[in-house]
Subunit: 162 residues, 2 copies
């Protein structure tokens, strides 16, 4: 249902990129869900952060990042959220971010993706490279969470199911 | 230097997607390099595969996958390569894949990305979704390798340097 005036179709359209990311975000949500609550906030390997800390980074980036791209209003990156060691609280924030991303994404025009931006007032790139970084960074940390889960004897969700 | 006849520019052009992936592949190569040779072929956590086994999967996918997209000739996925427990051999194959990807990628037309394909005669999707899967799968496994390295007390390369 997505139409453009292009002579050549998009390699990936804006809507497809959103769907791709939200598919990944659904998988990350399932990864959070299968973690035992205590391990989610405490389990680490080799001095790395807990998965809860990584998830706060992802939440600090996703909604606020897309909001900044859509509105042009920059705010510093905030990776610390009040969760009271409750997974449900972070899942709630996860779902709020899902809605926020969809809503602000609709305001991003396809011609914006190649524009320069200094995201969070700090990281220089294009809108496109910033969004790809958000997605890649999530895949990277979720991959790490898979090792945390395996080290706890828990089977992670299937990577190819989104 | 990349020009198209589009009214709307690409969200990401074919050349940009290639550069994005090759940037990731450079980082994965550096991740292989920092592994101690023995740990690369033997270290695991929680019953997972060694990083060497994951790298063979990545090599089985990358060059052959792009070749199949470019030529239309399908071959079954081969994740087993003769390496004689030498990291250098896999790094050599990695560099050959880099050249192979660049060379076959140049034959893929931008309008092909939205076409349907059954990659490796097995996985249904579009050219675009297949290539994104190749990249995402590499980021996922490299993230796992970062945990392997940290568990060995070794600092992985910086994620944002490509």
């Amino acid at each position: 249902m997505h139409t453009t005036l292009n002579k050549t179709p998009q390699v990936i359209s804006s809507q497809e990129l959103l769907d791709h990311w939200q598919g990944h975000r659904t998988l990350t949500r399932r990864t959070i869900e299968v973690f035992p609550e205590e391990a989610f906030f405490s389990h680490t390997i080799g001095g790395m952060r807990t998965f809860a800390e990584m998830v706060m980074e992802l939440l600090g980036i996703a909604g606020p990042g897309i909001k900044e791209i859509a509105t042009g209003k920059s705010a510093p990156l905030n990776e610390h959220l009040d969760h009271g060691n409750k997974k449900d609280r972070l899942l709630e924030l996860w779902d709020e971010a899902t809605t926020e991303i969809n809503s602000y994404w609709a305001q991003i025009k396809e011609e914006q993706f190649q524009q320069n931006i200094k995201i969070f007032g700090q990281y220089e790139g294009t809108v496109r490279s910033s969004i790809f970084y958000f997605i890649d960074n999530e895949i990277h940390h979720r991959g790490q969470a898979y090792v945390y889960l395996r080290s706890l004897g828990i089977e992670p969700p299937a990577f190819y199911e989104r």
